[in-house]
Symmetry: C2
Subunit: 471 residues, 2 copies
């Protein structure tokens, strides 16, 4: 079933049924992605101002069998927003639909259009005395539609869950142009199949999310942040279990950082302050957000004492100011930037059952050593079992020398993840980068069900063709 | 497309490919439901001991186009587990698959088979020093498979979410007998469509859940329970907002009770202790579960003081012992029992946007008064916007006198709920009772998508025929 390209003739016909300036030629920013691996084929972008206009656009594409490429903030790391080949799709960007339609502080709900930028939603919640807990490095650019379509993760999943856990209702345009009015502000609604969670995480292959009813949370009364030097990943996990026993749901983030990551920071970003005379082999960044009446600094000191007693931690620094807190977070959040300077051969966004993380780290290094001499920067959201496991050339070597090894490295890492009941895409999604991985590691019954659902909801195959499932 | 009945010939053929005693004639307990509205057609029940046996059974049913009726604990209130008409389906009960396969305290995960009874899962979690927060009146009978298939709610949704929020992974048999091995213990896994949430809440119409990886939570360090007399539903909501500001995520339950409910308790269950000399018009049962270092009793007193200051509450009693705590909960949890004694004309399990609850309650009474003289017992999970809105005859009248009014009462209540953006099935599901309501109030785009998904995943229409969607 071949799609028709979104050529000038199609664009002109579609434009005639829409207000002026709804369509234009796609500028380069719509055709690039953060890692520079792919370049989109040139073509047209539609910029609807309303859900009805989005509906008109999808209906026309469906009728003409023209592919549709939903484009959010363009920050995706797996190529879900880029079509490098095939008949040119029509890009559709909801950047003009960026209103935060309402905030209901008493209900802990905000209604945001899909084009709203994450940091704007966070800000609107804050102004209402509430927290929108979804938080990740690209939050100043990423838009709600893309964040939900990819079920984004980030640093607060341990406490608040993934993007899907922040959603009460959705409004969306289905592939044939019909609008699903599902923007409900309900905490309980058992009226039929969970279409909401089906669209969330489908990466734009089943429909176009246009707005969402988002859950807000109370803002913790007090926050505390610390860096603990731990004996290793297993010790870090034991420390997390102790923290949970002591603090219940008060742990907002629990991030693992290795010596390799700190050395990369020293090399690539020497201006960044690191608080140790000598970087530790392993450390965790712990953030607490506690209720009124509790002192995070005291809680972190108590946690440190328990960790010391159990021989899990050897050193600890509790942030004494907002500046120091930001410095600690900069260490964690600028690791990807340092990685780009050093130049990874292969990057892996994986997750494992929490208890299996130490074994995976222990087994990963020798598996890779059999393929050559590499440096591994393993860091990430330990509380979620989510590691960013990135492989770099040995000192003095260049990534270009290893281009041919990329696939074997990826397969070695992913084979091990799969063997240990993990996931080869924890938070970034499948996009176009991991279509083959999904075919290789995905459960056959689930894949068959996914194909049946895709054919049922998008029978003409127009939605984000080539993403997630092979066209 | 007509289904074939699960007659003796079919049962005997199927039995021959399974171990002895896997099939037997369905005893009466499989053919009854709690409200006594329907009676199932007699027939056969299959009791597999393993997922492979369940797969064999579904494959045979699919091949022969025999309907399959998944049966959990039999506690559903909307007839999802009862087939009163049509070709007799094969009942399938997973009561022999009731193992709790493993508990991982460090990961906060338990693996339970679908036949495990909820209270057994709660107990296994408790033994590991963890909490499985799903809790509802029928927890001593309801089984995990049914609880997930119906996305059960209960009293802790405010804090911990619905049943679907307790699930990390599923194992399930799809209608053609293929097994989906999705029993992952992962906190983040973005590898394709969310089949898990599609099966959860589908009420057995898309597949048979055989096991689940369940999330556990920390046990709160200290619990406190109080009954506050409030000025009305709006005051109760304001009190909830204050409680959230003061206590963050520490509120485990926030239940609304009306004078009518207390009067029914007095009438139907006179032995039940009520702690007031005179029952209040409206009260809320508040339960806190707080982290170490916080005193729930002091927190409840502080909340009461703030509520008094804002003229929201006029009286309050904090439970001073576990016995008193249980007495308070008995008041809330035995209301349904009193309701059964009094005899409702119509019961409604509805939800509303939180902020709309007071207006709904204010508008509901005059809407019903236009239809006749009734008593309304409105109670429920206020923190979730979930009301059980039950309509009774005036004193001295019998429900039988109003049988003809049932439908008009239901439509009046549901029309108002729908107009106010609520749901006509908050936590009980659609089953067979609310198929017509779903057709009447459901979003057309969503209904079309549901029918397409049903046809795609269960093309022969064997799974729980007649439930949720008309066959």
């Amino acid at each position: 079933m071949t799609l028709t390209p979104a050529d000038d003739g199609f664009a002109e016909r579609l434009a005639s049924s829409l207000p002026d300036n709804t369509l234009r030629r796609a500028e380069p920013r719509y055709l690039e992605e953060p890692r520079g691996r792919w370049h989109g084929c040139s073509g047209w972008v539609a910029l609807p101002r309303s859900t009805d206009e989005a509906s008109t656009i999808l209906r026309a594409c469906n009728d003409a069998r023209v592919g549709v490429l939903p484009f959010g903030g363009g920050t995706g790391l797996v190529g879900g927003q880029i079509a490098p080949e095939g008949p040119a799709p029509l890009l559709i960007s909801l950047e003009r639909m960026n209103a935060i339609r309402a905030v209901y502080p008493q209900e802990n709900v905000a209604l945001a259009e899909a084009g709203a930028v994450l940091s704007d939603v966070q800000e609107a919640a804050r102004e209402a005395g509430r927290l929108f807990p979804l938080s990740l490095a690209s939050e100043g650019t990423a838009r709600i539609g893309g964040l939900l379509a990819t079920n984004a993760g980030g640093v607060n999943v341990l406490r608040y869950g993934n993007a899907r856990d922040q959603v009460l209702g959705l409004e969306a345009v289905l592939p044939d142009g019909t609008i699903w009015h599902g923007l409900k502000r309900l905490r309980k609604d058992n009226t039929g199949y969970d279409l909401r969670n089906l669209l969330i995480g489908a990466e734009g292959t089943l429909g176009l999310i246009t707005a969402a009813a988002l859950k807000l949370a109370p803002i913790p009364a007090a926050t505390g942040t610390a860096l603990f030097t731990v004996a290793g990943p297993a010790a870090a996990l034991e420390l997390l279990a102790i923290a949970r026993d002591q603090l219940g749901e008060g742990i907002s983030a629990f991030e693992l950082i290795s010596r390799q990551g700190l050395d990369f920071l020293t090399e690539a970003l020497p201006e960044l302050r690191q608080p140790w005379p000598e970087p530790p082999d392993w450390c965790v960044l712990v953030e607490l957000g506690l209720a009124r009446g509790l002192d995070p600094e005291a809680a972190l000191e108590e946690l440190f004492a328990a960790g010391l007693e159990a021989e899990l931690v050897s050193d600890g620094i509790v942030a004494q100011s907002e500046q120091q807190r930001q410095d600690f977070w900069a260490i964690r959040e600028r690791i990807p930037e340092a990685n780009r300077v050093i130049g990874a051969i292969a990057s892996h966004d994986i997750s494992l059952p929490l208890g299996a993380v130490p074994e995976f780290i222990a087994r990963g290094a020798p598996v890779l050593a059999r393929l050559g001499e590499f440096r591994i920067n393993c860091f990430g959201h330990l509380g979620d079992g989510n590691l960013h496991y990135n492989v770099f050339p040995a000192p003095g070597r260049r990534r270009e020398e290893h281009v041919n090894q990329r696939d074997e490295i990826k397969h070695a890492v992913h084979d091990l993840v799969h063997e240990m009941d993990g996931s080869v895409s924890a938070e970034h999604g499948i996009g176009r980068l991991k279509v083959e991985d999904l075919e290789r590691y995905g459960d056959p019954a689930k894949l068959a069900a996914m194909r049946a659902i895709k054919a049922a909801l998008d029978p003409r195959g127009i939605m984000n063709p080539g993403a997630v499932l092979r066209g």
